[in-house]
């Protein structure tokens, strides 16, 4: 089954979304900041990344920049989940290569999982 990398510094949110993904029969690997996420991305090569923006050590923007500098990794779909809400922040995430940007406060975890499924289906249809 598809492997999802969840990069989120808030433990509760990370565990809630992990549990929903596991319920939906996904394999889940977790990271608590961009640096850890980057290491796991390289070692595990997940099928999709759920990425928070504001995190310590390395934030989501820098993660996106590094990901898209790398030809082997840039095609892995990345869904940003953030709480910033300002259009400028969201647009920046899109410009840096995010396929989807969601505001955590607007979606329930099961809706996030639905969006993950939708994004992966699209990718499968394309490939």
């Amino acid at each position: 089954m598809a492997k999802i990398l969840v990069i989120e510094d808030e433990i509760v949110l990370r565990e809630l979304v992990r549990d929903e993904l596991v319920k939906a029969k996904f394999d889940v690997i977790e990271a608590k900041n961009g640096r850890e996420g980057w290491d796991l991305l390289n070692s595990e090569k997940p099928d999709l990344i759920l990425l928070d923006l504001l995190m310590p050590v390395m934030n989501g923007y820098d993660f996106l920049i590094m990901m898209h500098d790398n030809a082997a990794l840039r095609d892995i779909p990345c869904m940003v989940i953030s709480n910033s809400g300002q259009s400028s922040d969201m647009n920046r995430a899109f410009e840096l290569g995010a396929k989807e940007v969601l505001i955590k406060a607007e979606f329930n975890p099961d809706q996030v999982v639905d969006k993950v499924k939708k994004l992966l289906n699209i990718t499968e249809k394309n490939s």
Binding site: E10, V12, L13, L16, V17, D19, E20, L54, N83, S84, G85, Q86, S87, S88, D89, M90, N91, I103, K104, A105, E106, N108, P109, D110
Partner: protein, 445 residues
Amino acid sequence: MEKTQKYQALIEHISDLEGQVTKLNQELNVANKKDEHNRQVAERQQLQLKTLQTVSSILFANLDSRKIFQLLCDTLVGEQGWSGACVVDAKLPKVSVPAHAGSINAAGVDHIKDYALTNTYFREAYYSNNAISTLSDNQKMSLSLRSLFNAPEVMAMPLIYGELQFGMLVVCGDLKQVGNQSLDFLAVLCEQVARAVHFSHNYSHLEQQNVKLRQLDDIKNSFISITSHQLRTPLSIVKWILSVLSTDQKILELPEQAKLISQAYDSNERLIHVVNDLLNVSRIQEGRLSCTLQKGSINDVITDVWGSTYSLIENMGMKYILEIEDDLPEVGFDRILLKEALRNLIDNAVDYNEEKGFVKIKAYALENKVYIVITNPGPGISREDQKKIYDQFFRSEGAIRQQPSGNGLGLYLTKAIIKEHKGDMFCESDCDKETSFTITLPISK
């Protein structure tokens, strides 16, 4: 015979003209001689005008008052023939060197600083904003000035603009070299300089304020970003936990507990919504609401909003009626902001409803617009109040009675959002009648 006569007449005529030319030439010579004097006067005035132009053009491009005074002194010495010039400024601190040029050197400047204002005549002129010169009838004053400035002729002119005095210009020299210099010319020059110095002071004040304002703006922007994140994070945590609990098998078997969880979820949703409103309002007040319009169909947005308000309406015991046309034509919209706008209208529809009432959302396309209409029964809005409902913080008496804890921002914000969408918004209602709020959005071409 005729030809000869005509020829003769022509010769005479030419002769006449020659006579006139000679006469005119003579008159011209006389006039030229008179002109010489006028020419010299005009030359003098030309020089003064040139000085004015030089000084003016640099004056207003220069915003440093110290440089302006120096320019004045340099020009008077360099172009007008004075041997020395300086600006005496009583307000200047001891360590600052006042502007000076020509024979008034640094030592001279020190002397002037120490003694000028101890001289009765100079001091009186300085503090009453009057010009003085050695050309006056007052012999004693002339002598006093000559000795004070150690020069045969001295003129001093105040630098004033309106009621503000910036100092006193002092020029020294030999009048034979300077020519019949008038105090009037100096007065015009000094007025220009004082005006420029006044502007330069205003400019530096404005620049300082500008820097402070920009710093405040940056602080405000980071405050909004950080607050936004810090407020929404715990709200998201509560939202997600309650969401997971509400679908938990064990909880679903306990209807009372399930209802409590659902109500807690709704309450948390409202808080999220209030936080959104406050953050958006603070952004509008800066004069901008960052709105990115993207082409698309709003069917999804309406479905999302319905999804997030469904349980709220059910828990209130109200009916939720949807009449949405499929495949609405594309419009330009900002997903987050349009959802906020619709959410505001639905919240209002729920708050100002009647016992076991309903909320209806209708969406359709007509001519070149997409219409979204939200309708509900209830106390209605009077014609009078309809004029004020879009004002920030306005709450009608009826509204306060029914919902004491509203903040009066919902419609203000919604209107601002719809305006950014190049759309329109209007209300149909009256006391104790059904209320309808309609949003129209232009269809993308």
